[in-house]
Symmetry: C2
Subunit: 137 residues, 2 copies
């Protein structure tokens, strides 16, 4: 069975990254790696390493994205949990065989990684993202 390696990141949807950094960076003493505009997801993201994982603060940049709708409905808080796997195609195949409902039947291929989301209906309500790292970051 394809190996789950670690928690890659926990994504937190926020209204204002600068405001959130007052807690995560200034008060907690974590070190911000960088902030990135992610137009494909209509958001900007702050990457904050914590041990072998990351906390990602995600701020929607348009009012009509899924992330913005989530923020409007549920408020700020944890949005998804990303686990890193060795072989994402093999894992997706295993999940499909186990009857798990997927949001992405085939992985999205991005520079340095492949990714796919699993539907919260199959995961006790957690939006789970799968990552396979395909190149050193």
């Amino acid at each position: 069975m394809s190996k789950v390696k670690k928690i890659n990141h926990v994504a937190i949807v926020v209204r204002d990254i600068e405001e959130s950094l007052k807690f995560w960076e200034t008060a907690m003493g974590l070190k911000l790696d960088h902030i990135e505009e992610v137009p494909s997801q209509a958001s900007k993201v702050a990457f904050i390493p914590v041990g072998d994982s990351e906390i990602e603060l995600v701020q929607p940049t348009t009012a009509d994205s899924g992330m913005a709708a989530y923020l409007e409905k549920r408020g700020e808080g944890m949005h998804h949990l990303c686990v890193e796997v060795e072989d994402i195609e093999a894992k997706i195949q295993e999940l499909r065989e186990a009857g798990v409902r997927l949001i992405n039947e085939t992985p999205q291929v991005l520079p340095g990684r492949k990714m796919a989301f699993i539907h919260p209906k199959s995961t006790s309500g957690v939006l789970v993202e799968l990552y396979e790292i395909t190149a050193a970051g």
Copy 2:
């Protein structure tokens, strides 16, 4: 500043641990470490190591706990994010000086660890738990 070492665990509140394990254990292939009754928190907890962290599935065992109320109101999903710190008293002091609102002003001392919760008002909506490990598990 007192060091944040890693994500200790992500806690997921669930209705039925056995049902949730069909995803996390059977489908995802993670290995359940053990299930523990935690009467002080009116719940039972499944501990699932993932890399250097854990996923904890928390099932309320009474209808009148905070966790049960959360489950009723928000449904299953991620409940809190626990980060491990080197010195919890120092971290609490630092947070207090930064104006962060705490749920526990002094840490709860349990076998093997000290713990305290930070109020979601100060953290972009995330219930954050601090852990200091005081003995090998």
